[in-house]
């Protein structure tokens, strides 16, 4: 896809690249502060999981838009051993050490949409999305549409 950016994750040095690319795309797409930082932080967490648990994988960044919104989709793919207990991985622990230390609950808190698919055969795919309304008008339109 045209505007897609892919970052190979082979080691922890690639996390620096992934963070930088994530921030760059977010700023390019027009996300206001602090969103680029939130996005880069979430990327950092899920990219690290690739290094720690699968050894290598890829981070894919793509813009997305619809009638009222613009945003970014971040996908982290690896062919590692998978997460056995997905529920635990996503669980929000009061102590803050929850989520099996994978940083997933935290990443989820920074983004708007969050999907996780994981199994031993094919590995893990995390898809996260952050978006904004184009403007106040678009937000109103969306609220009306939902009968808010």
């Amino acid at each position: 896809m045209a505007d897609e950016v892919r970052v190979r994750i082979d080691g922890d040095a690639d996390l620096v690249t992934a963070r930088a690319e994530g921030r760059a795309m977010a700023e390019r797409l027009g996300f206001p502060r602090p969103d680029p930082t939130l996005i880069a932080t979430a990327i950092s967490e899920i990219a690290r999981n690739i290094v720690m648990h699968a050894g290598r994988g890829e981070i894919i960044l793509e813009p997305f838009e619809d009638a009222n919104r613009y945003g970014i989709v971040v996908t982290a793919v690896d062919e590692g051993p998978g997460i056995r207990d997905v529920e635990a991985a996503l669980r929000d622990d009061v102590s803050g050490r929850g989520g099996l230390g994978l940083g997933l609950p935290g990443a989820r808190r920074l983004m708007d949409d969050f999907e996780l698919e994981s199994n031993a055969e094919t590995g893990t795919t995390v898809t996260m999305r952050k978006w904004r309304f184009r403007d106040e008008l678009a937000r109103l339109r969306e609220e009306r549409r939902r009968g808010a």
Binding site: D12, A13, L15, V16, R19, A20, R23, R33, P34, P36, T37, L38, A40, T41, S44, E45, R48, V51, S95, G96, R97, G101, G103, P105, G106, A107, R109, L110
Partner: protein, 124 residues
């Protein structure tokens, strides 16, 4: 060099120059642990201004530094957290104690002095 460390009397000042890889973060932690072991220090100031992202890994490392330093009687203060980074850390719900924070180096040094004074007053 990714981190510049200098010693000002009994205070260590570590200035992070750019975004660090996890390996570099661990190196920093080890370096500071060594220095804290080698010298009699009363404080460490870590300037994280160059970090655009402070995630769970960095936070854990900072916590470890704080605890290690404390065992040797030194207080660690983190300075230079940018507004957006502060928001990200808070929204992430990172466990932030026992981190001590100040706005910048001057503030941190003043804080260490106050602590020192109080310690002297208590006869400690």
């Amino acid at each position: 060099m990714s981190v510049a460390i200098l010693r000002q009397g009994d205070v260590l000042i570590a200035s992070i120059q750019s975004d660090l890889s996890d390996t570099e973060v661990i190196e920093l932690r080890q370096q500071l642990a060594e220095l804290v072991g080698s010298y009699r220090l009363r404080g460490i100031v870590i300037d994280v201004g160059a970090l655009d992202v402070i995630d769970s890994f960095v936070t854990r490392a900072l916590r470890a530094i704080v605890l290690t330093a404390r065992l040797r009687g030194a207080e660690t203060i983190i300075v230079g957290i940018a507004p957006e980074v502060a928001i990200a850390m808070v929204q992430f719900r990172l466990n932030l104690d026992p981190l001590r924070v100040a706005l910048d180096l001057d503030e941190a040094l003043a804080m260490l002095d106050r602590r020192n004074q109080r310690g002297a007053e208590d006869g400690g």
